[in-house]
Amino acid sequence: MFGSLWGSFDTSLFDEFRRLEGELDQLFGRGSLPAGIRATRRGTFPPINVGGTPERVDVYLFAAGLDPKSLDISIQQNLLAVSGDRKVPVDEAADYYRQERFDGEFRRVITLPDDVDPDRVDAKYRDGVLQITVQRREAARPRQITVN
């Protein structure tokens, strides 16, 4: 009956899950499950996805509105670090009702699989997504072995 009333709130169910997740984190204590030593708090800018194939590893940073020239991407063995500065221009003459967008400097360090080749890295920026492709070493790729 109140469907339309509830529906008018802009907190989607997804936000609700996130809140719940936060509460669960508090309830069970963050120490109970081991986290990666370089893992960051949920919601850290920019969100990252990492995917792999036998040939390469792709890292996607969802960072809209960046100047790609301001980015500093470095790799040392299998540690990939991306840092940058995102400035969100502020309209001084305006009243702000919501300011949810991240503003400022950021840095994220990603531990890649051990077999990546730090000499073969490629990066591109499109539609607000920074994609960094790192090739894996040849020797580490799975090989088909035939039985004689």
Binding site: N49, G51, E100, V129
Partner: protein
């Protein structure tokens, strides 16, 4: 004798589709601000290109949605994922003084800017105080 209660049955597929829809939609982070000319909404939608963006406005509401499309090699497997949805959606209730048929939208590097002008009669006027 067993009493049979008539309960409106929902097709399971319909329920599942609803649940899936909720689970897989991201609410983009937004800035909303107002100046003398109107209201501006800026939404973060990285991974959305112009042709995968949908903006709908009528007299009382504004809906923005977009599908994420990223370049992925065949056979990719997720190793880590902060972003677990491929769709952004967020809606706002508008008020009567906004000129919803004059909305302008611009998408650059995943940042969507929507400008909704105010009707001329609602733009603030500076009132001069006369001194005698």
């Amino acid at each position: 004798m067993t009493a049979r209660q008539e309960v409106a049955k929902r097709e399971p597929t319909e329920v599942q589709a609803k649940a899936r829809e909720h689970e897989l939609v991201l609410a983009p982070a937004v800035d909303v601000f107002e100046n003398a000319h109107g209201i501006t909404v800026q939404a973060e939608m990285p991974g959305v290109s112009k042709d995968r963006l949908n903006i709908q406005a009528d007299r009382n509401s504004l809906l923005i949605e977009g599908d994420v499309m990223i370049d992925m090699p065949a056979g990719i497997e997720a190793l880590y994922a902060d972003v677990q949805a491929t769709k952004y959606r967020r809606s706002f209730v508008l008020s009567g003084e906004l000129e919803t048929d004059q909305i302008e939208a611009n998408l650059k590097d995943g940042v969507l800017t929507v400008r909704i002008p105010k009707r001329a009669e609602f733009r603030p006027r500076k009132i001069e105080v006369r001194t005698a």
